[in-house]
Subunit: 196 residues, 2 copies
């Protein structure tokens, strides 16, 4: 398999990178000394009015009424059946404009450094974004959504149905956001998490 893979033979490449079982990871293990990587592939693209990070809302709460579309690639559209029945969906996507990460960051909503994992900052060890958005319609593999806080041309990773019984427990504490959360609808992003 090596020879074929190293020469870029496509079917072998798919064997190594295209499957979702352990094989690709095992091969990378061998190559890079015990670092088990996980391979994701974009399954669509997200279109929104936000072509630049500067000035966009930092959460759906700040994107009330903002409309966008999620274009699922043709190969995956059969998986959209039954999705229209849900008023909201969980969208996972790649923070494709984010670069590297720091373990302490000053969030858009705060003025002092916080631990990265206590924030939603895009520069993360694994730059995967999560937004719960309103699903208005599904037409020919294109999801029409509202209250979307995602950058235009963001690669789509996954769509899950939003189910309050699964996803919306009663939170009793929201940490450093406690006094700041109310500002989220006014707050806009800047360039702090972009490539330098």
């Amino acid at each position: 398999m090596w020879t074929n893979w190293l020469t870029g033979c496509n079917d072998k490449a798919n064997t190594v990178f295209g499957t979702r079982n352990g094989d690709g990871v095992t091969v990378l293990d061998t190559l890079f000394g015990g670092v088990a990587m996980i391979e994701l592939k974009p399954i669509g693209i997200i279109r929104t009015p936000f072509t630049e990070p500067q000035g966009m809302p930092i959460q759906p709460a700040g994107a009330d009424g903002v409309k966008g579309t999620i274009e699922v690639f043709a190969d995956y559209r059969a998986g959209l059946k039954d999705l229209e029945g849900f008023s909201h969906i969980v969208v996972l996507y790649h923070f494709h404009r984010s670069n590297g990460y720091k373990l302490q960051v000053v969030p858009f909503l705060d003025t002092q450094p916080r631990g990265l994992f206590s924030t939603r900052a895009p520069r993360r060890p694994n730059p995967i974004g999560l937004s719960v958005v309103q699903l208005d319609a599904v037409v020919d593999g294109i999801l029409h959504v509202s209250t979307i806080d995602i950058l235009d041309e963001t690669p789509l990773i996954d769509i899950k149905p939003y189910v309050p019984a699964f996803d919306a427990p009663e939170a009793t504490r929201i940490g450093w956001l406690d006094t700041l959360e109310k500002n989220v609808s006014q707050k806009r992003s800047d360039r702090r998490f972009l490539r330098d």
Copy 2:
């Protein structure tokens, strides 16, 4: 760079695979004819009582009181600062026991095929799982959590603070789950999404 990468030189490997900017993707583009991959690396490991998928709860709603730990690798622990202030966290993880995917599946909660993206089934084009769990304590880089529905030894991808204003909109429709959701706390998984 090629020669070094193909011979497995670690620092070059990091250049290609370890960064979170576009470089790795660009290289894979070249290699595999336009398939832009996204590379993730486990940042920790999740420990739960569920060593086998069979019989485990299928959502946190069915895992009331079940306790587990999330061991964040030492390199990332500085990012856990301030997390203790949150009663719940969003956990992203790799469905490491899942194999391939089908675009129509019969969910644990149903008896007929549904579109994959209208389900939470683990066999997905990008096998990333999402659970909102209760955070009880953070001790030496280990998160003690409750109401966890995740398989033991699952690779951790990301941790985000759970903030109702961001993550818990008022859902008006939950599609095919409408009449079935009430069963989730009793329902247990089986082997249908495992490797054959």
